[in-house]
Symmetry: C2
């Protein structure tokens, strides 16, 4: 009987202890600088059709090792990423089950812990069905948490900031309406889950490398503050179909006493497999505008006609009466192409270009889109020619309406169509309940589907930006053509009632932990009523805050989401969007507190340029900016785009001021930030 | 308020009456030669999300018409088929639902009735979800019935012959084990349902043109002898997702006082849409042998190695130890090709040619087959070359294991592979529970899938023979490349315990009503233990009966299912199989009684040849054969393959005698038929 196993992180700040409890139940605990992060917590998996992996274990073998390697991502916040961990691999057998073993692999980094279950190839274990995974995260107290209601279908809720003990009482109000939603518990929580303990530890729980498994949410025992894994069921209530040899995703716990370390953590990427792609020259970050916000605000429509329903392949669109509000028409798209070309942008997204939008939503329609037939007023070939003549790409749009079999049936044809017509990137969407009916957005079935579309896209050298899909778990290391997801409450919700003013100060600590978000910022006309008098929503930030988002909301895919006509009225502010890079050599956090403020700066890839962004919540503040990231002994020109003195997100969002400043590595700047405000600095 | 509507069949033997009952419930009744076939029976559909289509109807409009046309199928039992009916179209509105109409269309033929619900395009009806269809068939008494337990997943039960009042008591024993089964009611019945009333009427209930709808079974009220439609649910319990304009399948009632008329009825084909295929030259009936029965009996295996599991794309088959029993190897397949070529057959089916068979069954395995990767001992190119050099085709095999998403993902690649390697026909299979889990073999989801595979196959000029799929409903009129289904208990069950001796005297009255069956007859060595000593099953017919099946069990796809080495011992009997046609100019029933005996004869297409088959159940008999079908004034040579005097299916199945006879249109032949026996006659 082996004794408890202990490993530390390379810098020795973190200590992991693994041991078997009485009755042979595996458990682990984690401390950081001698503070308890995870109290003794049990591990295991309950199965349906084979003996469960829960108790009666003995340790067959333990192995310890170290790994230290630096690798370069195809795109990212840093040019180089160090992957340095100490590993403990435990092999377990159960007395009650003859000749059957599993393994638990722990990797302890300086920024946290990752661990996963492994099921080796063996005679006595092949196929098994998961009833529930029973991974615990026993917390040390009633932490402050930034949480979303646990749900099988959506992440588009506003984050709730509260103590864990308040989750139950706040759940009902937190579950706001959505096109497709399935909350599962009065104390269910999504991951990434961000927390702050009373003793000042920042703790983030998520998963890495979610492949061929069901998405993990957490269920909170709010008496004891223990979180337990809660997987997403299939149509029959089963939570996973596995075949050994295989493994679960990594369960990740990122820890620090500095909030900025959470933002800078590369633990989740490091736990993912390196890419096998040989040629990655076709994968490039993109700055784009799009025929989109005008439909989101209600100024225009995706649909071409106003009929109650259509049948693809049967309805003759040329015979329908155009509704006059269809934005995705040849002439209008050319205006966006012109704007993109004039302003040095890369691409134009066009939504609503293809037939089927008249009844795409809320009908559980199987054959809802074909992804290749344009509306009568959208000339595919002409727009390809026009865009190419200006050096602009058009971004394809594949809204699936959650009709997943239909999308897969058309996938090759749709991707071929893209290649033939000059498209190299697609925004996909999964709005509404999933078909096959009974499956959920985050079940194993759909996890498998999303990856299938990304793998197939790579065969066609196509980049994918998947909305309403599973929130990312670092898979873009393995599949660098996955350049974005939405999979959270994005800018569109500013037009659907508004986001909280602190929303963007939270998302980098939560949603962005697993991968970039296509947040689509850049709204200069924050009052939606300016476009659609019937819509009184407004963006809950100032204009300057919107500029800062291009830095604070990391994404290799950055949209200038507002309308060209609005940008044309503020070309001075728009200059920042034109200048800001979308790919980076390095990133530093100046100051950060989840839910309150973020100030960080990034160095543009292969350029002597830096871009800084600072955002705040509904409270104004003074940001303390130091410039130690600049090379010593050189002076640079900074252009500061900041809130006006009287600015505020609700009353005076468009008040901003632009000034220039000479800076060097010793400069200290105290910058006023308005309520819901921010500032952006370009440094050259 | 319009009064009851009455139409008759063209020959006036059948009368249909439609009327609204009190409370505006639509009803119909049917009489045949003044005998009641269907007592007043209600019609309607219960919906989930819109007001139901059940009651409160008024008649808006009625229209009557007549249709009379003769058409030619691409292949079939007759060269020409007359489609002659009187039609009643009723348009109904419901007071309680503003401006919403449905229609019920009745077509009354000389051989029976077809009717369906129609949902016209209209503002107040687009999308709706079916909870249950409520079509009644109120029978006139406790009929004798030939029935299968109602089930969402299998038709492979032995037919039970009993009165309707006995169904409940016999159900438990009737539900024998199957790889995938979901019985739904203690008095649930499948269609086609064959019945015989005490007053001598033969009545068959089924459906025609099952497209984009859920499969109909029947639930029996065994107090009142009323059958009601019972659709197949999806994973959530809903029974159909429809979008107007659309229609239900036709519900069919074939009636006669002559059993032979049931067999000869073309009502179901006539209710299907004509084909839109322009070129049908690639669709040809096939006579084939196959690497199959030796695996079914247990003599050989589909699998190549004996390992507990494999992972496609990861397992290296060349490193596995061959089990030595893998039948689908290059050398052995060449033997079958040689046999086919020597004997004038068209093709060789090969099962077990592709990787994945080691763990294909019972594991709910998603990525189970890829349909293109052969085992190391199966040389695709060499076998293509060899077969082509002998004028033989190889029939492809696509076992899906019910993993339907996986099949669809590979479908284009699999069909392309076929075209590139000289295959033009595929046998597909759906053994085991369906994936997506929660769906059933006969739900709308799978009905849609089967048709998708057939439509896509047509794009590649591929013929399809789908096993374990939905039982046919005449769709091969519209899609003549659907040349076969199994979708019932076939010859393989003779090796899984045996079929009843009367099994094949029932199937033409039940399963075959909607389309041909790939029954795969021709077993000459009826004792399975001759191939696999551990298997004591035996075929419950004589050898001569097996020959007769090539006539009585209509199919454009006919297998000589036994092993060449066995045929080589009985080449005199095998001559009938070599001679018998697979496509016909005309068909006549000499005598028939469901469950007892069938004697019928067919004229070969474009030849002066006739083939007669006669089969009996476990009782011996004397068949009365007349030859009035022969042209008058000419004499022909008949070769009669009959049971020996001492033959019987269980004790002496291989006792047969072949004799020649000169026949003309006036000949009368009294032929002895042994228990479980039969005879076959070729006439040239």
């Amino acid at each position: 009987m082996l004794k408890a196993q202990v490993i530390t992180s390379p810098d020795k700040n973190l200590t992991l202890k693994f041991e078997l409890q009485s009755n042979g139940v595996p458990s682990y605990q984690l401390t950081y600088k001698n503070k308890q992060v995870i109290k003794p917590s049990t591990l295991g998996i309950e199965t349906k059709d084979v003996p469960s992996f829960l108790d009666g274990f003995t340790i067959s073998k333990t192995e310890q090792s170290t790994f230290d390697e630096t690798w370069s991502p195809v795109w990212g916040e840093q040019k180089e990423i160090r992957n340095h961990y100490n590993e403990l691999l435990v092999t377990l057998a159960q007395k009650a089950v003859e000749s059957r073993e599993i393994r638990i692999r722990f990797r302890l980094f300086n920024d946290g812990l990752g661990f996963r279950y492994e099921f080796p190839e063996q005679k006595n274990l092949t196929y098994f069905v998961i009833k529930e995974e029973k991974t615990q995260f026993a917390l040390s107290g009633d932490h402050k948490a930034f949480w979303l209601p646990g749900d099988y279908d959506t992440q588009e809720y506003s984050t709730v900031t509260s103590n864990l003990s308040e989750v139950r009482g706040k759940m009902k109000a937190a579950v706001t309406p959505n096109a497709s939603q399935t909350p599962f518990s009065p104390t269910g929580l999504q991951t990434p889950l961000m927390m702050k303990s009373k003793d000042g530890l920042y703790i983030n729980i998520h998963e890495a490398a979610l492949v061929d498994y069901s998405c993990m949410s957490l269920n909170l025992d709010d008496k004891n503050f223990v979180l337990q894994s809660w997987l997403t069921p299939d149509a029959q209530g089963n939570k996973g179909y596995l075949q050994a040899p295989t493994q679960s995703p990594w369960r990740t716990i990122v820890v620090s006493d500095k909030a900025g370390d959470i933002l800078l953590s590369k633990l989740i990427l490091n736990l993912n497999e390196p890419t096998k792609f040989k040629d990655v020259s076709w994968i490039k970050p993109i700055k784009y505008v799009g025929v989109w916000w005008e439909m989101i605000t209600g100024k225009s429509t995706w649909s071409y006609a106003d009929v109650p329903s259509v049948k693809l392949g049967e309805t003759d669109y040329s015979k329908l009466k155009p509704n006059g509000t269809h934005a995705a028409n040849t002439q209008h798209v050319k205006e966006y192409i012109d704007f993109a070309a004039q302003n040095g942008l890369d691409a134009v997204l066009v939504e609503g270009w293809n037939v089927g939008w008249e009844d795409w939503f809320g009908k559980s329609k199987d054959y809802v889109f074909d992804f290749v037939t344009p509306y009568p007023d959208f000339d595919v070939k002409e727009l390809h020619r026009y865009a190419a003549s200006k050096g602009i790409k058009i971004i394809m749009h594949h809204e699936t309406s959650g009709s997943v079999r239909n999308y897969e049936r058309h996938l090759d044809t749709a991707y071929k169509f893209m290649v033939e017509n000059g498209y190299n990137a697609v925004k996909s969407g999964y709005v509404g309940n999933i078909i096959p009916r009974g499956e959920y957005h985050y079940g194993q079935w759909l996890v498998n589907h999303y990856l299938y579309t990304i793998q197939k896209a790579a065969e066609y050298k196509i980049m994918v930006n998947a909305h309403e899909a599973i929130r990312p778990t670092g898979l873009s290391r393995t599949y660098p053509n996955l350049i974005g997801n939405e999979s959270a409450r994005g800018t569109e919700y500013e037009a659907f009632g508004g986001n909280n003013a602190d929303h963007t100060t939270i998302l980098p600590f939560t949603r962005l932990m697993g991968g970039p978000m296509d947040y689509t910022p850049g709204i200069f006309q924050t009052k939606v009523s300016a476009y659609n008098p019937q819509n009184t929503s407004f963006v809950h930030t100032t204009l300057a805050h919107q500029l800062a988002l291009y830095v604070t909301m990391y994404s290799p895919l950055q949209m200038a989401a507002d309308l060209p006509e609005t940008y044309n009225k503020h070309m001075d502010a728009f200059q920042f969007i034109k200048d800001v890079a979308v790919d980076w050599d390095n990133t530093w956090v100046i100051e950060a507190e989840p839910g309150d403020y973020i100030t960080l700066v990034r160095k543009a890839k292969s350029k002597e340029e830096w871009y800084l962004g600072s955002i705040t919540d509904e409270n104004s503040r003074i940001a303390n900016v130091t410039f130690e990231f600049l090379p010593k002994g050189k002076t640079y020109e900074a252009i500061i785009y900041a809130d006006g003195k009287d600015a505020s997100f609700d009353k005076n969002p468009q008040s901003y001021a632009i000034r220039k400043l000479k800076v060097n590595s010793k400069t200290v700047l105290k910058q006023f930030v308005a309520p819901g405000g921010g500032f952006a600095i370009s440094i050259k």
